[in-house]
Subunit: 315 residues, 2 copies
């Protein structure tokens, strides 16, 4: 199948290039913005070594920055890291037409409001990728494991564009779920991310199995999960009671996993501290709820992030 | 002045050699156990570069282990780190006579009970050193700053031996306070140690000024101090209300300081996790009090300590 629809991926890193590649496999016209690997990708495209099968992905247009893209995309997928100094709305401005659907394929909580406010007339789709994928060289992506997507219209409900997008992903072999309550799904993902990402860094560069070996660490993880569930519930997105136990069981059973935050930290890249913890702390303060374990992780991770950035050159 | 009393220092490191040296300056007969620097110290004694004036300290006996000490000391001063695998009572057994006074010059809380139980007939003195002192080479101690001591009979009250010991230290120029409530003084010291030691390590090897620059970190420090005060009060050692504010002000005003835990961490040595946090967590559980910030630091520091020990060779 092929589609005449045009997709532009902003931030063609380990996540953006991978999912752009899958859309390309589904016959969609996919272009990318690409900074550091521009020359390489322009000439050779992406080499995607995927657990679902290797393939080459040659984008229709490869541009350094959104302004250089010619035409107006039907979908623009934002797959950049969520960092305080990355203004997504400014990135989007040059490419968003009246009918362009904006897709945020990013981590964290409360990341949609600034974009929704900047583009009130455009459909906004919020998406979560459950994937283990790394850039291992110029234009070279290693998709090690997982790959499931959940996407949904923001702030909720159903929309034809969500179904269209999820159809394309499914055609490429990706398990893509169209959710009518994507914010609830974000909270659910945060139940795992909020403890494991920070603890993997703060505990001394640990994978999940090393964390799970420590009774005190598991207790901390559990307390953080309880606090996330408390906030989710106050935000109108109560999680099922079994979510914590299920997450702990799943984590014990899975192959030892190094979190994305840990990979960023080790590479001297900025970590998504605000998207994953800072916004949660803000929500806690708004509701005047005690979330001491999250606050402790947040304070330590902020310190760690500042000094990590100063010490190493971001790649 | 000279004394016919005999003192044996167990663990002649940065703290033990320094205070042993001061007693020697006061004319006391001081011997030491010394493992790694044995040959050097036996031949040349200790070179003490002190902010109070440099001096050489030649102990009367230098022995590798307590069993090798000849005679029975009047005082045995334990200045080893407080680590789970260091059994202080076994160390003491060969040298403690019926009238030997045991002095614990160590960090942390609740470190006395095992020793008190092992030597129920001996006077136990508990002591706190407020000092910045490092071993900078074989038998070479650098006493950079501070030096104040607080000593007191355990579990409380006054005793002639405490006064005698503090007199000797005063003669050597050390500000030594004889306290009738040493446990309360331990809690007071812990108000500072419990937050700053762990945060200096977990925040990414920071000195006190780098911690104080972060609003969230100061909040975390404050919460930990509040939890320590809560426990102290439940243990019968309520702290004055101003202690937290005073500690924060003092820390802002002091020369940027690297905690002893940070120095241990950076040298790949075991950290005093249990003495400074683990015992506090146990006390919190005994009283069924919520101390979430301390628990979070404890869980993370345990992880960090285990992996620090595995990665580097203890010096």
């Amino acid at each position: 199948m092929s589609s005449s629809k045009k997709v532009l991926v902003l931030g063609a890193g380990a996540v953006g290039a991978l999912y752009g590649g899958f859309l390309h496999k589904a016959g969609v016209d996919v272009s990318v913005t690409c900074r550091s690997d521009y020359e390489h990708v322009k000439q050779q495209g992406f080499q995607i070594d995927s657990c679902l099968g290797n393939f080459n992905f040659q984008p229709t247009q490869v541009v350094r920055k959104p302004e250089d893209y010619s035409g107006v995309p039907d979908y623009v997928i934002v797959a950049t890291k969520v960092l305080p100094d990355a203004d997504v709305s400014s990135l989007l401005r040059p490419v968003v037409g009246p009918d362009t659907v904006i897709v945020l394929l990013q981590n964290g909580i409360d990341i949609e409001p600034p974009v929704a406010q900047a583009f009130p007339e455009n459909l906004l789709i919020s998406g979560l990728a459950f994937v283990c994928s790394n850039r291992i060289g110029p234009g070279h992506i290693h998709h090690q494991d997982y790959g499931r997507l959940i996407i949904g219209a923001y702030p909720g409900g159903s929309h034809q564009a969500v179904l269209e997008l999820s159809e394309w992903f499914k055609q490429a072999g990706i398990n893509c779920v169209a959710s009518e309550n994507i914010i609830s799904a974000r909270w659910k993902k945060l139940v795992w991310n909020a403890p494991y990402n920070p603890v993997s860094v703060l505990g001394g560069c640990l994978d999940t199995s090393q964390i799970m070996e420590s009774t005190e660490a598991v207790l901390l993880v559990k307390h953080v999960m309880e606090e996330v569930c408390l906030l989710a519930s106050h935000e109108g997105h109560p999680q099922v009671e079994s979510v914590i136990e299920q997450n702990l069981v799943d984590t014990r059973n899975m192959v030892p996993y190094r979190t994305s935050m840990l990979l960023d930290y080790e590479a001297g890249r900025p970590m998504e501290v605000e998207a994953i913890l800072g916004n949660v702390v803000k929500i806690g303060r708004r509701h005047q709820l005690a979330i001491p374990h999250i606050q402790a992780l947040y304070a330590l991770l902020q310190l760690k992030d500042v000094h990590n950035r100063q010490q190493k050159i971001p790649s």
